[in-house]
Symmetry: C2
Subunit: 246 residues, 2 copies
DNA sequence: ATGGATGTGAGTACACCGTACACACGACTG
DNA sequence: CAGTCGTGTGTACGGTGTACTCACATCCAT
């Protein structure tokens, strides 16, 4: 055992964001948090989240696998980095009037981001820590919009969570369906339901799901994602307005 | 190459649920879909979803790994089986009056199930196919509740999806926070925020998130999950009632 | 009753994954 | 000019999902 250093640990910066902030000495400048994150996001966009492995990512960057671990303590932190990158560069606070406008803008931005980076939903469900700087900024803005309307901290957070919960769930639904269609090169939802059929048909044949069966036969807006998204969002916002008197 | 059978493939049952239905000849009866699913659910409940591997599961069942593949085409189908099992045995349609009662019951059942099997949310986000028989039954019941109130198929589905989207998102939030607390043996949310601190504190110190910072200091119901859940649910239901005139 | 068909579980093997560890290089600081 | 420390390299280990082949138990038709 070596001379046994007196201080067990000097003062490791510990958190990822703190480490990023100070620009590092830069002896060799091949890699950076930004370049790693960008490459990972690109890979996930193109081939899906499960295609992002430390090996493939390092190969894509022309670097050994273990080099990544200088910037990231493990794959979890890589995911955090990706998440924050996906939510970066979005309009800080669109010129929307009142809390309602702010929440609509928030919802629209969320959908745009999720459609561009479908793996986000998978990530936020798996990941333990999802509160990256850009995500916190988003929540902070929403929170501010409600407190500005006169709500106390608890109620404002409850309102924010109600809206964000809906957004998250609705997007998870939509993305899930879209990914299923994409995976099979289907353009139309009818294709989906047709080849989804082997399972769905059999289930429907059992006659146990009359309402669902009726829906599949008579519905017309089965693929109108945007309409359904806005419809649900309006319900939540209406409910908030009525219930909180704002 | 053997005599080259004329029919390339006789007629494989293909879908998991179809295969389950017919009980199979049963030459050896060590395993069954039910026993596999039950063991997997038990493992996931106890040690988390990531602890469920084909090897560990087979070991737990006293069987070789590959034996499982006689009942399941791959891990995806195992997950499907688990999902369906988790949603099984729930009261088919509680004696709740009207669509509103039905949706409240639906929401409560969903929360109970999610708290009992936290891995469900992780699963539905990752899984391509989440429409297992028991899940479809749930949707069918909800759909029926709305059509009974006079809604057409499209609107009824939009309403169902609005409610289910909120439920899904809200539970994902709650479960995520609870899992984070459980993972560290924290009992209180303050513990969470305290040790979450290294990251959170630093972010807050930047002063970039005034509203969020204010919330962390003045809020009192930070851990009242049930209250927030019901609050958001009521908002959605109020919005539906007002917007659809039901 | 008996012989073959049929499905079951065993065993082996492969490719891939995340990451721990020890080492070599090279630019900045003194 | 010399030393240091951050940076990237190489190797290795344990774990994963699953494809393939083979021995055997059970049931059905004879």
């Amino acid at each position: 055992m070596a001379p046994q250093h007196p201080n067990p640990e000097p003062a490791e910066p510990a958190t990822l964001w703190e480490r990023i902030e100070r620009p590092a000495k830069a002896p060799r400048t091949t890699l950076s948090h930004a370049s790693i994150a960008a490459a990972a996001v690109e890979m996930a966009d193109a081939e899906g989240l499960e295609a992002v492995s430390m090996r493939k990512l390092s190969g894509h960057l022309g670097v050994t696998t273990m080099a990544l671990y200088r910037y990231v303590t493990g794959k979890d932190e890589l995911f955090e980095l990706m998440l924050d990158t996906a939510f970066a560069g979005r309009p800080p606070a669109a010129p929307a009037p009142g809390w309602r406008g702010a929440m609509r803008a928030h919802a629209e931005r969320s959908r745009t981001t999720a459609l561009r980076h479908p793996w986000i939903l998978e990530l936020t469900a798996t990941q333990v820590v999802t509160l990256t700087p850009n995500v916190v900024a988003e929540i902070d803005a929403a929170l501010g919009a409600f407190t500005a309307a006169g709500l106390d901290a608890d109620t404002a957070m409850a309102a924010v969570q109600a809206v964000r919960a809906y957004i998250r769930g609705a997007l998870a639904d939509e993305i899930g369906q879209r990914e299923l269609m994409k995976r099979q090169n289907w353009s139309d939802g009818d294709d989906l339901r047709h080849a989804y059929g082997p399972r769905m048909n059999w289930l429907m044949e059992t006659g146990r799901y009359p309402a669902y069966r009726d829906y599949t036969k008579t519905a017309r807006r089965k693929d109108d994602f945007a309409w359904r998204y806005d419809f649900g969002l309006d319900c939540v916002l209406d409910g908030l307005a009525a219930r909180l008197g704002i």
